[in-house]
Symmetry: D2
């Protein structure tokens, strides 16, 4: 399993570089009979487009996903669903210098070492955030599966440049209608100011995302290695720029006592609290699944930085090209897609267990 | 892939419940020719035994791992290495009540829901922390592979009950000789006091672990979904009680700017800093791999707690049995083992890339 | 996936050498709630014992499989089911010469080359037919799953030493009560004579096995690479001594015309014939699945043979030890087990497709 | 693993239906640095085109494979290589009747049952032989990997319509320059006559293919379940129309004695014969790997056949559309591609074993 596939019985395999002909993916294992159109995928892809707040690149990619297989007369057939997104606005001339100099904070150097010096350096190649378009497209398919059981996934930005949305003002359900996909409208002036300052500083910002999955039935996930939280952490940490993942209380749980952290069980599958974040022993409890994700600042800054070239000589680089100022908010639909892919996979896996009933 | 296996070409499959006959595992894909004896595995298993600090259960398990295959005349043969650890001190009578009442903070309820009401409730069954003995045994084998390339993995406790080791006093290399596998000797009086207090409160504690891998060559890990950090997060989050994973700066990176967070490249494969934690674009950079793990407090507290029984009726439970007061320090060798398993796997995977050279 | 595992969501991982401490396996993915006892497994293992006809070794292995996990109060729990079979009658002194000389027709030389000269040569080590005991044990578990849907698997010997059971005399349902697990009682005198002759010639025999699965619902198997017949061929060809696999008409289909070979569809899911062997386009049709398997003669003959030693020098070898005269009939329960494992896996996989209904 | 992927560390995932927009695949795990151009793939695809003998459809598909990723400046980069082949000559009107009536010998009925009545019936949809174009394209990439170690794969037709090439006249190396990719030139008049007769009979023919891999180093393949012959049988049996697979002597081995069938070892890694077909204990021996494949006659015949419609009513069907008269010879490059994919995968897997040397 060479690393560009994800999932067990709902499986996504992706391909593509930032400045090659295009990128795409194949989703295997989708059940037959779900209504699916290109427009369903496009709706999610559009959320990932530049322009949702003041942090985005000026690269304009229509990012139109074309369905190539697995759908017949508007419904999934159960065979692999392939989609393709052509690269249409690549400007490789911006990246000439990258042929020989490594950008700090980027994967240039590690790809150079991994692949014996051979890599498509244009715009980060395979390591470009552009690959996440394929995740979003596949996530749209996963959400169709989740919808059969009325499971929803929502994500929002809860912190940007060190300024966090206060817990009491959190409105994650409205985030998609806010700039930065912010979990609060009131925080926006502060974030705008922080972004303005960073732009003046020729610098970039990080942030924190919250992802919540609702109406997940209890019993999903596997014991031991493929615990639901483990697979979710895998999924989220596989998104470029993510440096930390928390479930429920996360690192705060390390500071609680058992009596504070335990969630008392109530009748009818309810709990008195949700410190666990909806997962106990690696298996969904029926409560909301609550995840937090740390997003590092974009590595491409408009400042000269120390680095080396491919011959090991010290040099300086001023990264050109068109870049976001923060992975927030464009990473939000990507995180949401990854969680949807995981949940659809474990949901289909659980069918096996229900076989004997 | 039903969830009790981990790894791609170095693959561990485990089995066993807390109060069944025993537990064990099969390690596939180990190269031939490595010296391996039961004593190598025992050394690591002994680190997981109760008694390394004031936080452990009184259950006494000799935890002797017997090698059943894959080793001939003291060396690995390349065929699957199986090991078995008999359960010898199980006292199932302690767990009778668990047949019908769910313990808060445990997997009882989620297993009940997942498996149609059928589960081995004795001591948590498959969800018991006892399953981690198999991880530690397998980790000892993985470390033999890593040793060929002089890669080492070290883990330590850096925070217990909310009291953190200050960064300047960190001595991770000495942790295995300290109580609690603490990253500092000076912190011990404070931790002892915190533990004493918790015991008096009939409560339990959480903590934070640090794992560092040294001498990892650049180029390990795969792009996109099986990024090295993603697989490490999967591995660590799959350990019971873990609620958060950070790579390098982790959540702190969300508050840094790009200019603060980027690590400048220096000649000879060096970097001016290691905010990234040794991984760029999902691939090892050659720097130390630095991971932090949040460990929740043990759910079994010596207090009556609200819960429900299997018929949905509200009740209270006082969890009997013998329990640790914290997963720290016994989780430390488990985390170390999981990181070793991941690194050995990606190291062997990279052989494929080097094929053409 | 290093090769000692088989199956996708019902997955068997095995380990063990002929003359090590023992052998065993782990079955992941079995649904919860099935009645399972060691006696169920033992019944199938006993079919693999020496002594079912005149072709068997005198090695006496009680082959008692002990269940180590995954069963609670007589029923499967859904967690991994491990079983272990101790080696009790190994006589390694028989195999001393094998440390330095390769047996023709055996895996000695290929293991020597694969594993850099390191392999457990005693009795064939991992390559011994003894590993098939683990397949049979796991097959017994798979059959429990199949029984839920009333699917059965039967196997029989239809040819031995070149003497075939005539098609009109085929009674596969009675084979388990016949010597050689023969598909006919009338063939027995001829086979006894053939075996007697081979024994006098200090030679060994091959044969052909027939495997039939009944009551398989239509719709099992996956398009393209994991066609049901492809996975069955994989399963059967993975059994030592198997050199050919046919589905339905098999090689005879190459000589038929389309009008002869096509099976006309009739109402109620019936067909006018079953040339296809129950599989169309890689997916079960609801008809009997019919497979034929070529079994080569046992390589260990009581004659001096030309070979080389590990230093490449020509020499001769007279293979000692205790050996069967034919893999027939002991291979019969192994083939049956492999087909059961495949069918149980695809049956559980299909649950995913039925999810939306 | 939902069935449209094949391989472990060199992994092909395919998609596409006969009458959808197109078909394609993603090859993961190819080492970096291999020269690869679209022309390399095209050369193999052209072998699969109609017109190599008198047996082919008149559907004209240019079958141009476009490379979408994983190649930079003419060389593989180690990232996924995607290719896409547009469907350009689909004439769906030929297939209207198939919406409601099942073709005998085809996958219509089994897809109907598998996918809850939902399937793309046009030209067989996903079950069309057209999907094999993706296998051939991927095989061309695999052959690039094999070429590094000078491993070659050749395939030829050795029997058509019951008329076999005599063993003494076999010239497999010249097959690609013969009509029908025949292993002999002398057989051609007989085959032409047989084909002419079948066409007059409005019937179709089957045949037998031979595949030989040369210069395969000893040591490839894994013990037990992923034996090299098992994986090869999986690969070959997964090709539509294949009903049997033999390794070396195949079914003939069932009629040999051990003394006849064993291949004596000679110095320098040679053997006195190759009854085994180059594989011992599931691992390559260094001899030629020799495989035989039974190909059933094409199911689409120009005769009225009995069948049922989707409501279960008996009816008759005369299959329209444009069809081959035999899967021979167009299946030949497909078989060759599948063997190349398997060998490249096991070759890369073996790098792991060589790690310690």
């Amino acid at each position: 399993m060479p690393g560009s596939g994800f999932g067990r019985i709902l499986r996504l395999t992706t391909y593509g570089e930032s400045h090659g002909p295009g990128l795409g993916g194949v989703v295997e294992g989708c059940p037959p009979g779900l209504e699916l159109a290109e427009a369903d995928i496009q709706a999610d892809l559009d959320l990932r487009k530049p322009g949702q707040g003041g942090t985005s690149t000026k690269r304009v990619e229509p990012d139109h996903a074309r369905l190539l297989s697995g759908v017949f007369e508007g419904r999934t057939t159960g065979t692999p669903i392939a989609f393709y997104i052509a690269n249409e606005d690549q400007r490789s001339r911006d990246y000439g210098e990258l042929a020989s100099v490594f950008r700090p904070g980027h994967a240039d150097w590690t790809y150079f070492k991994k692949y014996n010096g051979i890599y498509d350096y244009r715009g980060g190649g395979r390591a470009s955030a552009r690959e996440t378009a394929a995740r979003v497209a596949a996530g749209a398919i996963a959400k169709k599966i989740l919808a059969v059981r009325k499971i929803s996934v929502q994500a929002a930005c809860v912190e940007l440049g060190g300024i966090a949305v206060p817990p009491e003002g959190m409105e994650i359900d409205k985030a998609l209608s806010h700039p930065y996909f912010a979990a609060s409208e009131e925080i926006l002036p502060q974030w705008d100011a922080r972004v303005k300052q960073a732009r003046e500083d020729r610098d970039t910002l990080g942030g924190v995302a919250l992802v919540v999955a609702r109406n997940v039935p209890p019993g999903l996930g596997e014991p031991v290695f493929d615990k639901l939280d483990a697979v979710l952490a895998h999924a989220l940490m596989s998104v470029g720029a993510v440096k930390g993942v928390e479930v429920g209380e996360g690192f705060a749980a390390a500071r609680l006592t058992g009596s504070q952290n335990n969630d008392a069980l109530l009748p009818c599958g309810k709990f008195a609290s949700n410190h666990a974040g909806g997962i106990l022993g690696g298996i969904s409890s029926g409560q909301d699944i609550v995840l937090r994700v740390a997003v590092k600042p974009i590595a491409s800054i408009a400042q000269k930085q120390r680095t080396v070239d491919r011959y090991g000589n010290p040099t300086k680089i001023l990264v050109g090209g068109r870049h976001d100022l923060s992975a927030i908010p464009r990473i939000i639909p990507v995180l949401s897609a990854m969680v949807a892919l995981v949940l659809a996979d474990v949901l289909l896996m659980q069918a096996r267990v229900e076989f004997v009933r």
